[in-house]
């Protein structure tokens, strides 16, 4: 499934998500044409079981879709839709076609069929039709809920550093579109974990594209009578960038591949940390190698670098995930350390209430 997915989506993005199109969507413009194509292809329902209307793809399959979205700076919540639909399906609810996003950070109470409270930093919150979130019943039982955007009574707009919408939505006695108890085996922070995994894959894809772009530029730009890529100082910087890009790619792929039953929490934490570091290093080297042209609006370098700067802090920064991981490691002591690392795919991650996103 992976090969077909990758070939199809890359063609779709190459046609529609051109740099000019990506640029024109920044600031909150909804990419209607691109989304229509995604909807029509059925990609947003890939992770839903067949019984509930999807393709029953695994996270390992969906990895290539999300990585490609990163590579093309796709200005739409494709990963969010995949995650939201996957969670609906896991909770026994039908997948939802159309524009849908997720809220990893929610403060919601579910009373019967009605919700009260706020969801924060929802990607394309102003544009989507529905949002998947976790709400607690008055007795504290976590539920998966599907909220209608037009049912929100309050909308607080904001944009990340790449001009992508990250909006807060408030609900007062809003009727839910669907709801079900959070299924066993999934933690209440499932959307935060899933979101961190999405950003890891997008970052890996964007770094790959950025490295290609930067290595090509170094081969073409001439100074002192030769290509700047022939200078050892430039070569050494690009080698460091390549190592980081390779590390980001494998860390993200591990997170998706090991998330076969639920979400592989420890591996996802490692992926978010590794990709965030790679994003910082890669963006810095790419700009340094490009010189002034890379600092202009016209040259498309910033489409990638500004996304890297945005994504590295979303769904938990490297510091946040490092602190959670480190706390768990210290609590286990040195005897538990290596066994923990070698069974990472099966390891949960202790959630620290003192560290909300």
């Amino acid at each position: 499934m992976r090969e077909i997915f990758e070939a199809t989506i890359e063609r779709l993005f190459a046609d529609l998500a051109t740099p000019a199109y990506v640029m024109s969507c920044e600031g909150g413009e909804w990419p209607a044409e691109l989304w229509a194509a995604l909807d029509e292809s059925g990609f947003t329902l890939a992770g839903v079981t067949e019984a509930l209307g999807g393709a029953e793809a695994s996270w390992a399959d969906m990895y290539v879709l999300i990585r490609a979205a990163g590579r093309f700076s796709v200005p739409a919540p494709l990963g969010e839709a995949l995650l939201g639909n996957w969670l609906l399906s896991r909770a026994g609810l039908e997948g939802r076609a159309g524009a849908i996003s997720v809220a990893a950070n929610a403060d919601l109470v579910l009373e019967g069929e009605r919700v009260y409270g706020t969801v924060y930093s929802v990607p394309w919150g102003r544009n989507v039709e529905a949002v998947v979130a976790i709400a607690n019943s008055p007795t504290g039982v976590a539920h998966v809920v599907l909220l209608s955007r037009i049912a929100a009574s309050e909308l607080t707009l904001s944009l990340n550093v790449a001009g992508e919408p990250r909006d807060d939505l408030g609900f007062t006695s809003a009727q839910v579109l669907a709801q079900a108890p959070l299924p066993g085996g999934l933690d209440a922070n499932v959307l935060e974990l899933g979101g961190a995994m999405l950003r890891a894959a997008q970052t890996a894809g964007a770094l790959h594209a950025l490295l290609d772009m930067t290595a090509n530029y170094a081969g073409e730009r001439k100074q002192f009578g030769k290509a700047i890529g022939s200078f050892q100082a430039i070569q050494q910087q690009l080698a460091v960038f390549a190592e980081q890009a390779a590390a980001a790619g494998i860390a993200a792929e591990a997170a998706f591949t090991e998330s076969s039953a639920g979400l592989a929490a420890l591996t996802i934490a490692a992926a978010k940390i590794s990709t965030a570091e790679a994003a910082s290093v890669g963006a810095s080297i790419a700009h340094s190698v490009h010189g002034a042209i890379g600092f202009t609006e016209e040259y498309p370098l910033h489409l990638l670098t500004r996304r890297l700067w945005a994504w590295r802090s979303e769904f938990g920064s490297a510091s946040l995930w490092s602190q959670r991981l480190g706390t768990q490691i210290c609590q286990g002591g040195s005897d538990g350390y290596w066994p923990l690392l070698t069974s990472h795919g099966q390891q949960p991650l202790t959630r620290l209430a003192s560290n909300p996103v």
Partner: protein
């Protein structure tokens, strides 16, 4: 593009199943092995330990059964060696034979050479060292000057090797020397020989390192007469053979686990209630470790598939060395512990030792700049 070489490879279940067994063995054999010794990592020498591993079938385990090996897949070997390294077991005696000399002989050797050398390697009794570097040839390995000249049925070797790890403990060296004309193209005219280090004309002198340890040596060859069958592989193809060897040499878990002992004493010294900085740094390092391990496993899968992942192996080594070298720095950042050569806490002694060892991590097996040069070539820049 080159970075696509890295794709995720899980350890297959049959290899994973060995983990419990090797952990039990380590617990049994190395009970109370102190952190100050495990800090030596793959520089810790203990021939008795190597023989015990050999008896278990854990040395040369990927080699053919006909020569004493286990025909286990590369992932089975990976599980064994990463467990040994994580525990800081003294694996130095057989390390090079297991990692590269055995596979080299198996790949390029004659039937007779395989029968002669491999069974003793697999028993954990036969130790090898790598004779590449010379006083004027470090990074520029192709500039070596030691020679082997045909003399009737044998070869006469003259010259000098240096920095040869374990030459003083090994029975054999696999030496890269010049066998061709001086005018030949840079990478031609070199050949590899299996040199019996007990032969007349060989002088081995340990060189003490900055911490007083004796691990590497200088080795002199003065008209050393080697039999014809000491040549391994093809005459004149030494450079290609060495290059193939380096992918094995540069991608294993020893390229990022050298400071495992310190990471463990650090975790315990910090204790169960870390402050924010301590938790963050330990978490961050551990994430890197997991990622490096996934990269290394990916190269293992490529090697197993018969590919030549020189590019990817260089990535593992360079990133891995930077990671290992960062650990003593982070230990200093997190705790007010003065490193101690003697006295002090165990953590302080491990810190002192590994602070001193760390510079060597990015020298041995190829320097940072040389590795990055290889990576840049893979990016099409050279």
């Amino acid at each position: 593009m080159a970075i696509s070489q890295f794709s995720y490879s899980n350890i297959p279940p049959e290899a994973e199943a060995l983990r419990t067994e090797v952990r039990a063995f380590i617990l049994d054999t190395l009970a109370d092995y102190p952190p100050t010794l495990s800090a030596q990592s793959w520089m810790g020498f203990d021939a008795e330990f190597s023989k015990k591993l050999g008896a278990r079938g854990w040395v040369g385990m990927a080699l053919p059964k006909a020569y004493g090996g286990g025909e286990a897949g590369p992932f089975a070997r990976y599980v064994i060696i990463e467990e040994l390294l994580a525990a800081g077991a003294p694996v130095s005696a057989h390390w090079i034979a297991d990692r590269q000399s055995g596979p080299l002989i198996n790949r390029f050797g004659t039937e007779q050479q395989k029968q002669h050398f491999l069974p003793a390697i697999c028993r954990g009794e036969s130790y090898f060292c790598i004779g590449m570097s010379e006083p004027n040839s470090g990074s520029d390995l192709a500039s070596i000057k030691s020679t082997a000249v045909r003399d009737g049925d044998s070869w006469l070797v003259n010259g000098q090797k240096v920095w040869t790890t374990n030459a003083h403990h090994s029975q054999y060296m696999i030496a890269l020397v010049r066998t061709g004309e001086k005018q030949a193209a840079r990478h031609e005219g070199m050949s590899q020989f299996i040199v019996d280090l007990s032969l007349p004309g060989i002088t081995i002198r340990p060189i003490r390192d900055l911490a007083g340890g004796e691990h590497f040596n200088e080795v002199f060859f003065d008209n050393v007469r080697l039999p014809a069958d000491a040549l391994i592989g093809t005459e004149g193809k030494g450079w290609d053979q060495v290059t193939a060897e380096l992918a094995f040499e540069r991608s294993g878990p020893e390229r990022f686990l050298s400071c495992m002992a310190l990471l463990k004493t650090l975790i315990d010294a910090v204790g169960k209630s870390p402050d924010a900085l301590q938790a963050r740094e330990i978490g961050r390092l551990s994430a890197k470790l997991l990622t490096l391990r996934n990269m290394s496993l990916s190269v293992t899968a490529q090697l197993a598939a018969g590919e030549h992942p020189a590019w990817a192996a260089s990535c593992v080594k360079d990133l891995g060395n930077a990671f290992e070298q960062e650990i003593p720095e982070v230990a200093q950042l997190l705790l007010e512990t003065e490193p101690r050569q003697d006295g002090g806490s165990e953590h302080a002694r491990v810190l002192a030792y590994l602070t001193q060892m760390a510079p060597s991590f990015s020298l041995r097996g190829g320097t940072r700049e040389i590795l990055r040069g290889i990576i840049a070539r893979g990016l099409g820049l050279r």
